[in-house]
Amino acid sequence: MIPKIKYEKCGKTHLIFIETTKNISRVYRMFPFGSSYEKKLPFGTAHFLEHIMFKKEDDQDFLMLFSEYEADINAYTSFDKTVYHYQTDATEMKHFEVFLEMTSTLHVTEELVENEKKIISEEIEMYENEIETQQFYTTFSNLCATPVISHDIAGTVESIQKITPSVLKESFEEYYLGENTLLIMTAQENFEHYSNVVSSFYNLLCEESSFEIYKNSDMHRPKFSHAKHDAYSASDDLPIVQTVLTSSFATTEQHLFGIEVEFNTLEEKLLFSFLSSLLISKYSPVAEERIRKSMMNSAAMYDIMNVDAYTFFFFENIGDGEYKREFLDVIEYFYSKTKRALITKETFESYRKGYLGQWYNLLDNDGLLGNESIALYRQNITLDLIFSFFENVTYETFVETSYNFSKANVTTIRA
């Protein structure tokens, strides 16, 4: 396989190989280009580029081609990255070569762009139809001190009209041929073969290129450079911005709370994720309190979204009444060491084992392992680091660690 274009320079690619015993092998390729990188671009460019990367010359399509190679390919764009991935039970390497070709070559014409605008417009309207999606984006955009995430990943029907072949070409060259791209493989064998294919492919693709290879847990990588943005610290006096979305179909109020946190150390970040998980679990003193106060007219869930150096904690609540007090109860555990000490050492130890078990279970699930490894890589975290940290972390560290909040927001859907 010979790439059709030869570039002067390609940024460093990291290649991680994870051995597995499963029938299906998986390959992921990540580019650090998501919707939060579009400050000077039409909103939706990263997602649009992801669609166009599947196009081939002569009206051909990589989606179709892959199915002939006995592989299922797909892709997604998030706030901070674009990921292409495929899975196959075939042992020959043809699909891997084509995958490298597809993710390294942009084929774009005016006609392709105009046709794709129609499809993506339908996709955008599909999400606009759902008020919960708008609630999510509203909360996110209100949280960011400078709007890292100011808009929907797919952009708007209006913003994508400004996307042209040259916008896509420039973005491709900056981010797809830039630094810190990542290849992850979970496969039974063929480690040498995979690395040889990557090596020879890059030699043909770029005059100057480099890549680093890691196998299994041997992943002590150089630090990833984050796109930093300004934030203000308001941990002693955190304002909650309130936003209201209206739906004539709403029969009960729905609240989405979010807080944005910035971390000084990796340990802080890991413990914050742990505490968030504990607080929404059955081990949570908040849950026990809710039962005692008969406040069960609410449901709680959480999500941690890592975007560059920031973490966002979400808490969903339906029903009116005590909703705000309940949210404040939850985040008080992040603020106050005294409150956190109410979580007993026994509860901490129990949940620590369970939390560790969840991470170990990931090793059984190849489908999740690849995506989770990418998310961890973006944060300079390895699975080994997580294992060793939660094997050894003490109750005292758990209680004493404090967090730096930037902003808080609640977005309510009401009639």
């Binding site: 006995e70 339908e122 304002p239 309130q242 936003t243 004539s248 179909f249 059955k282 129990s350």
Partner: protein
């Protein structure tokens, strides 16, 4: 009558956790029983001592905090099951016995258990939470659309309840009514335990619970058919064209139903033929729907077609602009058998391989693999293995065209959201700030 437990064990290499999945077949006789069981499930999972971090559990099972338990009401085609799953990463005999007790907790619940102060305390709060969850679903355009579609399809099913009916019942549900409805749910006495544990001690741990144990008999067709006759539900529904008003819908939603000319008896052969047809017609990237509707005409982002198992029809769903409804229907109805046959000739190999990979993915995951074994046993009385998987490669173009020919495109039924003067759900921004 004493329950009988059938145990299926199969272990693979490099497994780090033990999984135990208990299926209890259930039969609902009247409306609202499914929701009543959901209410019990909710109470158990959230608050029952065996499922939570209660003091009781801590005392007895201090070394097993890391196990997870899950209870769900599931449907495999027309059969309802209570499915209880226990997962233990570092198993010991004590842990296995604990799992067995937990798996059997619902089955052994008696009327007296429901009358405890503990259960009464949580009953009312769980009821309120369920109401709120149902109400929350009403806010979503797609939820409202599919709820309307379901209401039209299943309106003749005496056990089907609309969301509004469920909300009304839950809001006024008395404890006595709850007890009556629950007591009339039929739990089968044949229980099915699927596990990847190969420990011989596991069987002796099960024997310490209140069930009789025998090895599972996969090919006891007589018994399986008796069970199916008892638990199967009605499968034929008549369809009506319907349109729904939704003033908040920015984009349209369209569901199309193509009935089968004759009902084909359910078998593994029929299932695999349907699945390959689905790949060719509506699932694969090379399928008719994806390539014609999305790639060629650019009408939508996503479109799927699959068989609706309990209604004997092929079902197409998509979200697309209101003005594209007619064009979509035109593309589907004007498609000829000859052109579809040509497409099948081109992509049959691809479709077969996609199905094989899909099954291999399920086989790679221990829990999904055990579910697959149970599904194939209960539906067809067969063991799922690689030989069965390789049968997929034997299907011919003729087999797939037979499935196509059995669909009656002249009797297509459509359900859709009507175009209204839609307004976008843009939020009003209130810059009021509340300090903590």
């Amino acid at each position: 009558m004493k329950p009988q437990m059938y145990v299926y064990q199969e272990t693979k290499e490099n497994q780090k956790s033990e999984y135990y999945i208990l299926h209890i077949p259930i039969r609902f006789n009247q409306k609202y029983q499914r929701e009543i069981l959901r209410l019990v499930q909710r109470c158990l999972v959230s608050y029952h001592p065996l499922f939570t971090s209660s003091i009781e559990r801590k005392k007895i099972f201090s070394s097993h905090y890391h196990l997870t338990l899950d209870v769900r009401i599931e449907k495999i085609q027309t059969f309802d099951f209570l499915k209880i799953t226990g997962t233990l990463p570092y198993p010991t005999d004590k842990g296995r016995r604990f799992i067995m007790d937990a798996l059997m907790a619902i089955y052994h619940m008696k009327k007296e258990d429901f009358q405890t102060s503990f259960f009464r305390e949580i009953f009312d709060e769980s009821r309120k939470t369920m109401i709120l969850e149902y109400k929350q679903q009403e806010t979503s355009v797609s939820s409202r659309f599919y709820e309307n579609v379901r209401n039209v399809i299943y309106k003749e099913n005496p056990k089907y309840s609309t969301k509004q009916e469920i909300i009304d019942v839950l809001e006024t549900l008395s404890y006595d009514t709850f007890e009556t409805l629950y007591s009339e749910i039929i739990f089968d006495t044949n229980l099915f335990l699927y596990t990847n544990s190969k420990e011989p001690t596991m069987i002796s741990e099960i024997k310490k619970t209140k069930v009789d144990v025998s090895d599972i008999t996969f090919f006891d067709e007589k018994k399986r058919k008796t069970h199916i006759a008892l638990f199967a539900e009605k499968e034929n529904y008549t369809f009506e064209h319907a349109s729904f008003q939704d003033k908040e819908a920015i984009q349209g939603m369209h569901a199309l139903f193509i009935p089968q000319k004759k009902i084909i008896e359910k078998s593994v052969k029929q299932r695999l033929a349907f699945e390959i047809f689905e790949q060719c017609y509506g699932t694969s990237a090379k399928s008719f729907l994806f390539s014609e509707v999305r790639e060629h005409h650019n009408l939508c982002y996503s479109i799927q077609g699959s068989f609706l198992n309990d209604a004997n029809c092929f079902y197409i769903q998509t979200a697309l602009s209101f003005e594209h409804y007619e064009q979509l229907k035109e593309i589907i109805c004007s498609h000829t058998k000859q052109s579809f046959e040509q497409r099948v000739k081109e992509i049959l190999y691809v479709a077969q391989n996609e199905r094989i990979r899909s099954y291999k993915r399920r086989m790679d995951n221990t829990k999904m693999y055990l579910d697959l074994q149970f599904e194939f046993y209960i539906l067809y009385g067969v063991h799922f293995n690689m030989d069965l998987l390789s049968e997929i490669e034997t299907y011919t173009v003729r087999d797939i065209i037979e499935v196509y020919e059995n669909l009656d495109f002249s009797k297509i039924t459509e359900m859709k959201i009507e175009q209204q003067a839609s307004q976008k759900n843009k939020g009003e921004f209130h810059d009021s700030k509340n300090k903590i």
